[in-house]
Subunit: 77 residues, 2 copies
């Protein structure tokens, strides 16, 4: 069950990143994180912490509310 949230979270991060037309490397730089970490996040391989969830949302220019709204809407399809 819990792996599903990682997958959905990663998918939305990827969608938002692509909609901003930036690379994983640019997103990583904006967050102060490593590119391979962002790659793992997008693949649903990471149990991301609240601190990094906030950093990534800020770098993507989206509120946490909007981010989780997208994740939970996605989940119900």
């Amino acid at each position: 069950m819990s792996s599903k949230i990682f997958i959905r979270y990663g998918q939305i991060v990827r969608e938002l990143r692509l909609s901003k037309n930036i690379s994983q490397e640019t997103l990583a730089d904006l967050c102060g994180l490593h590119r391979t970490y962002i790659s793992d996040v997008e693949l649903g391989k990471r149990n991301v912490s609240l601190e990094n969830i906030e950093k990534i949302a800020k770098a993507l220019g989206v509120s946490l509310t909007k981010l989780f709204e997208r994740i939970e809407k996605n989940a119900s399809i």
Copy 2:
């Protein structure tokens, strides 16, 4: 900056738990986590992972969207 999100998150978890009139121990049992962990979370001392954020929200009967909406509204006061 990042510690603020821990504090706000902990405050909202505490508010939601109290509104359900359950103890930290009961919430911990519902989540499959330890009572001292829940205590630390409520005090803003933990960088909670996405997996545990989801577990705690489910135990509190709140969506992640609603949870973060409350956190972000709280932040803007």
